[in-house]
């Protein structure tokens, strides 16, 4: 009996683990190591952040689901990998530290035949002075990256609404908290949800709302922008976004690196090198992402972290990391199998894999500060990659080491993003966007790098309904309810 250990039970790891358990049955062991007791459908945190959903509605307990699936669940965080074993252990192993199950703080070495790293991002608040310490959110701003953060954000939002009702103007600042952030889509969705809620509360005229982001143009979204079909035209996401922001009375500041956060203000540096201060009463700033800081050791105990992981902490996979300058970047630089090039029984999926380079055009200020979005690895690609990696590992376990690996390149897959404001079935509206492929391929699609038949965006109730359905479908699927495999990632 062989064992696959999956590190991280988020969108990607949960997909990998549940499919691996289904495909392997009782003949092999599937172990999930994840520090959280609950699974969180992260996209719906946005609605928690404006009080439209409770934390309970976007999370569920992992334990019963893993019991049902026959998965061994260790509520722990992975600390290090020994891909060659050690002087006392012949098999490769991962060292974990428990965070629950009554074993808090104790360590264990879990041996594996295959390991899948799906540890997602470290929310690196500490990268910006004042935004937080390490992965802990600071006291001046809010976040919607976890369900707890989102609950806290909603409390702060309600406080601001109360102040406005008493006649005190409030300034809302939403966007990215560093020059190297990704996940602009989440902040984009949140800012329009705030705008919608303020209107509903009758205080919109008391609020100044501003977007701040590291994108070099509005609508870059970390994908170098996109051209999409809107109302019969093929338009840049810049025009689409500028139109939406203007319509909703939201100002924007782009090409911005937030260099410091203090109570009620941020310091920023822009792409043209100018610096300034922006005041706020309420700020939701997404932190930059990094790898979760796993270490790797060779058999003799020497540190091989730099061999297994890229400097940003994400795991190296079959990507082309030496593509060089922007002009040389190709869709084929992006990984296909997510297998570690040094240890072929190690894979990474979701946000945990190291991308070959960013997607947007690299930019920096005259002072040398890099200000560009890092590549998004959103829910759909994270799920698809998790499933493909699980498929490869299952085939390796059941058919032997010569089994063909399954492929899922971000240059050949799409992503759907629905940014929805409000929750009412006839009162909300959403910007529904689909991009295909996520990483532009200018050899295949010389015009815009993408297939404009399948890269489209529109605003309306339809997208809003889709967002509702997706919320319920994905939670249903993650709970492994009847027919779960029929629901696509």
């Amino acid at each position: 009996m062989a064992r696959v250990v999956i590190l991280g039970g988020g969108v990607s790891g949960h997909t990998a683990a549940t499919f691996a358990a289904k495909w392997l049955g009782n003949s092999h062991e599937v172990v999930v190591v994840t520090p959280n007791a609950k699974w969180n459908w992260i996209p719906s945190n946005i609605w928690v952040g404006v009080g439209q959903m409770s934390k309970e509605e976007v999370t569920f307990d992992l334990d019963p689901v893993y019991k049902k699936a026959g998965i061994t669940y260790k509520q722990a965080k992975a600390v290090s990998l020994n891909p060659e074993g050690s002087e006392t252990e012949t098999k490769p192993f991962v060292t974990i530290e428990y965070t629950g199950q009554g074993k808090e703080g104790t360590s264990e070495d879990v041996t594996y035949d295959y390991v899948i790293n799906a540890t997602g991002p470290k929310l690196n608040f500490g990268a910006t002075p004042g935004l937080g310490e390490g992965s802990q959110l600071g006291e001046h701003t809010v976040s919607v990256c976890t369900a707890d953060h989102a609950e806290h954000a909603n409390h702060k939002l309600l406080e601001s609404i109360e102040k406005m009702k008493k006649g005190e103007r409030q300034k809302f600042l939403v966007g990215t908290g560093h020059g190297m952030c990704t996940c602009q889509g989440a902040a984009f969705e949140y800012i329009f949800n705030i705008e919608h809620e303020l209107k509903k509360a009758g205080v919109r005229d008391m609020a100044d709302i501003k977007w701040i982001s590291n994108e070099s143009f509005l609508g870059d979204f970390g994908m170098g922008g996109l051209h999409m079909k809107v109302g019969g035209y093929v338009v840049s996401s810049k025009i689409f976004s500028e139109s939406l922001y203007t319509e909703r009375g939201v100002d924007w500041m782009i090409g911005a690196h937030v260099s410091k956060v203090e109570a009620g203000s941020i310091d920023y540096e822009l792409l043209d090198g100018t610096t300034g201060k922006e005041n706020f009463d309420f700020a939701m700033l997404i932190p930059p992402f990094a790898g979760v800081g796993l270490k790797a050791y060779a058999k003799d105990g020497s540190d091989i972290t730099g061999t297994v992981f890229a400097p940003n902490g994400f795991m190296k996979v079959d990507a082309k990391y030496d593509a060089g300058a922007y002009e040389n970047w190709k869709a084929s630089d992006w990984p296909r199998t997510y297998q570690n090039p040094t240890y072929n029984n190690m894979f990474a999926c979701g946000i945990a894999f190291a991308p070959p380079h960013i997607i947007s055009k690299p930019m920096s200020s005259p002072n040398g500060t890099p200000i560009n979005p890092t590549p998004p690895r959103t829910g759909m690609p994270s799920g698809i990659i998790g499933k493909a990696v699980a498929h490869s590992v299952c085939d390796l376990m059941t058919k032997g080491e010569s089994a063909k690996l399954h492929e899922a390149s971000m240059a050949e897959m799409g992503a759907a993003c629905v940014a929805s404001a409000g929750k009412g079935l006839t009162t909300g509206t959403a910007a529904a966007m689909t991009v295909y492929p996520v990483v532009p391929d200018f050899e295949k699609y010389p015009g815009t790098g993408r297939d404009t038949d399948y890269t489209f965006g529109e605003i309306g109730l339809a997208g809003h309904w889709i967002k509702h359905i997706l919320h319920h479908l994905f939670i249903y699927k993650a709970q492994l309810k009847p027919g779960w495999t029929l629901i696509p990632e």
Binding site: G231, I239, E242, S243, T246, E247, G249, D251, W252, M380, P381, I384, K387, A408, E412, M413, G414, A416, T426, T429, A432, T434, Y436, P437, Y454, F456, E458, I459, G460, L461, A462, G463, W465, I466, P488, E489
Partner: protein, 55 residues
Amino acid sequence: MAVKQEEINFSRNEQSETTMLPGSFAKAMRTNVIWQFIRFVAINLKMLIVVSKSH
């Protein structure tokens, strides 16, 4: 003649001057349940195609 409601935001600031804004018809269609139901079917079909091309 008074500024049309949907055109007010052009004058918010310099950034807003050069963009496009939806008129009253485009806005009404966004919340027209019949039209949006048609769009719902169309978007879902497109999304399903994107999903199937991605696997």
